[in-house]
Symmetry: C2
Subunit: 428 residues, 2 copies
């Protein structure tokens, strides 16, 4: 039996849905890498009794480790350290060395703002330096220290790792937490797992479910594989976790998926289409001319570090005037076929390419909605074209479901897959 | 005492962090609108025992209502209906009318894909139509029906509303659920609350904490207001919930915030900068020329329905060549001052404006990192310029913290606020 963990995310702003939680998912990935089984993630508001109830729930289900995020700030509603201390039956004490350290960090920040209340800052610092007796301090990344708080003296219950809410503080602090004796002791039962991901684009999830039934019928030892399939922005991810001796069963499953889904399986190693496109673009340059996606494809192509090696730029041709003047789409094409048409998509791709001197141009034009649809050209219709490198040319239309934001996102993903296919066929 | 609720989000793909949960936050907002207090959101994987434990936890804490999302699909790992039925002590029965209805929905979908396994589809349909005795069926939006499952016959425990995982199915189905007698009965204790939001841009959170201390000192009845402050992408949101008789206390608080934070308070009614910019742009047109943000500002300006009334387009000038050829930046400016400079930001804004014939042009150039920084121009330095309407011109630089994605996002937000300020000063 492997070590089990829970995550408690605190913050009324997260519970109420106003802020998206980035810490739960990130910590979940880290636990998986460690081979620790995540059983629950619970989000609670800033009420101490609710946080306490969540910890009791985790303790009752015999978890070895609980990670908490948030509630470590200097203000009165930041109560995590105190609630955790009480839960673990530990007295709260002022750590004076820590107090000096936080004061040193706060000082230059405070100087950036005029008219701050000094007394308020000192009070906040003292609060942040008051910690459960016996806890290991994790040095502040921002101003808040983290904590690893061992179980109560009688040894029952989980070890609790208390981390700050801002992801850019939490993430480096987790690396520190991993070095502590207290955390290592809590997860010593962790099993080693392998985890692999397949990605497919362009088939319904039920087809994968059917492939799994066929695998079971063919005698693949599925009971040794923990498989989850998930549909995400039009892509299917098949994630399999298993102990190393089940490698054989996994390889048989992969063989079957390759055989049955050769056209749509595009990633055997979990790499995303974004990573694959970045690699395939090596030695090429690319530019886009976008209408309905409004720059989303450009933003996606420029998102990765080093994108300047292949991404030249884009023309967001939202109005027809800009399509003509900046992307060089002949206005006759627009009058003859409409702005959302095969011809205009191709002209946009050509324009992106010629105006920026890129090897590859991508054109996108469509109806994102909610208005502007007609019977012939409904909301969700998008024409996409990839021109280049060289003589390569692919143009297609798709009918995308969902609201305006869905159509824009999905069209961007379709474009990424068209770029990937074009370049990978070329590489063959 | 008001009605209390919990949310249980199911799915290993959500728990493991591979998919972001959109349902928890959305349902949280709906509960708030109803005046139902949300106590916990718990995410569990596809293991029935973990789902059962999460329901037990919610029941033990005397919640009136539990909303679950996910696990209603046709495959064997979709177990929610069965787990909920067992938890409520209700027998599972096949609803034949529902089975026919699902079959009718699935039929045309099945025809779109070649070579589907008919028997597999029938099996899935039967599974989806097998529901707890006494549950109210919510008609499928996709293929999965939802359920409102009353407490066990002895009347203890929460009413459980079982909703599908895809947001575009869950959201319309929630409207149906609201009409059911079973749900109305569960929340009859709901209190009426008012909720208001203030938004500020450009001050640290500790300043708001200090303002709240001043409010307490000045005798504002803060104990009647439930206030949460939250820092989100460089903006501060102050959300206050209160019962209607506390309106007076809230108004006093608002007065104080207006007085102390006149420069940075930009929204008294919770409207976002995106909404305000869209309104302020009425009668104007806008275009952007972006380097480091790679089209993110264009994507944001074109995100709202009706954006074509004001958004003309953009030039994503990622390479210097494109800055010169497409945005009309004089190459001498780039050699003299560097691509990341006040002069180039202004030239980009001018280029965006003149090339698209927009009233307002926005230029952005910066160093998003991780490489490319120097001592003089570190990673995070971004120059932004807004030119127009008319003679208006604002140019400034910011030093943004965080990684590449943070710098790009934050620069986009700074640009939105510069556009807002320019237009709102004009409107005075």
């Amino acid at each position: 039996m492997s070590a089990r963990a829970g995550i408690v995310v605190t913050g009324t702003e997260v519970l109420s849905g106003r802020v998206n939680d980035r810490n739960g998912p990130w910590l979940a990935e880290r636990l998986r890498e460690l081979g620790v089984d995540l059983a629950y993630t619970t989000i609670v508001g800033d009420r101490p009794e609710d946080m306490h109830a969540a910890l009791s729930f985790m303790a009752r289900h015999e978890l070895d480790l609980v990670l908490s995020s948030g509630g470590l700030g200097p203000t009165a509603d930041d109560l995590t350290a105190e609630v955790v201390g009480r839960f673990q039956g530990r007295e709260m004490v002022l750590d004076e060395a820590l107090e000096r350290r936080i004061a040193e960090i706060v000082e230059p920040l405070a100087r950036r703002w005029a008219n701050l209340d000094r007394r308020a800052i000192e009070e906040g610092t003292r609060k942040q330096a008051t910690i459960p007796l016996g806890a290991t301090v994790l040095a502040p990344v921002g101003t808040a220290p983290g904590l690893v708080v061992p179980p109560a003296e009688d040894g029952a219950g989980p070890t609790i790792v208390v981390l700050p809410g801002p992801p850019r503080e939490l993430q480096p602090m987790w690396e520190q937490a991993l070095q502590t004796e207290a955390l290592r002791a809590a997860i010593k039962r962790a099993t080693t797992y392998r985890q692999q991901m397949l990605r497919l684009f362009g088939i319904p999830e039920s087809e994968i479910a059917e492939t799994l039934r066929v695998a079971a019928r063919d005698g693949v030892a599925l009971e040794r594989l923990e498989i989850t399939t998930c549909l995400k922005g039009g892509e299917i991810e098949v994630v399999t976790r298993y102990e190393p001796p089940a490698e054989d069963a996994y390889q048989k499953l992969v063989e079957l998926v390759r055989e049955r889904h050769a056209d749509t399986l595009y990633s055997l190693d979990g790499t995303s289409v974004d990573e694959q496109v970045a690699t395939l673009l090596s030695g090429h340059t690319i530019a886009t001319a976008e209408s309905c996606t409004g720059g989303l494809l450009a933003a996606r192509l420029s998102a990765r570090a080093g994108a300047s090696a292949y991404f030249k730029g884009a023309i967001v041709a939202y109005s027809d005037e800009v399509k003509v003047a900046q992307a060089g789409v002949p206005s006759e094409l627009i009058s003859a076929h409409g702005a959302v048409s095969e011809q205009v998509a191709e002209a946009l791709a050509d324009g992106a390419r010629s105006r920026t001197k890129a090897d590859i141009g991508v054109g996108i034009t469509g109806i994102a909605g909610p208005s502007g649809g007609t019977e012939e050209k409904p909301v969700g219709l998008v024409w996409l074209s990839v021109a280049g490198p060289g003589e390569a040319r692919v143009t297609r239309s798709v009918n995308l479901p969902g609201g305006r934001a869905d159509v824009r996102e999905r069209a961007t993903t379709v474009a990424m897959h068209m770029i990937r296919r074009t370049l990978s066929e070329l590489a063959r």
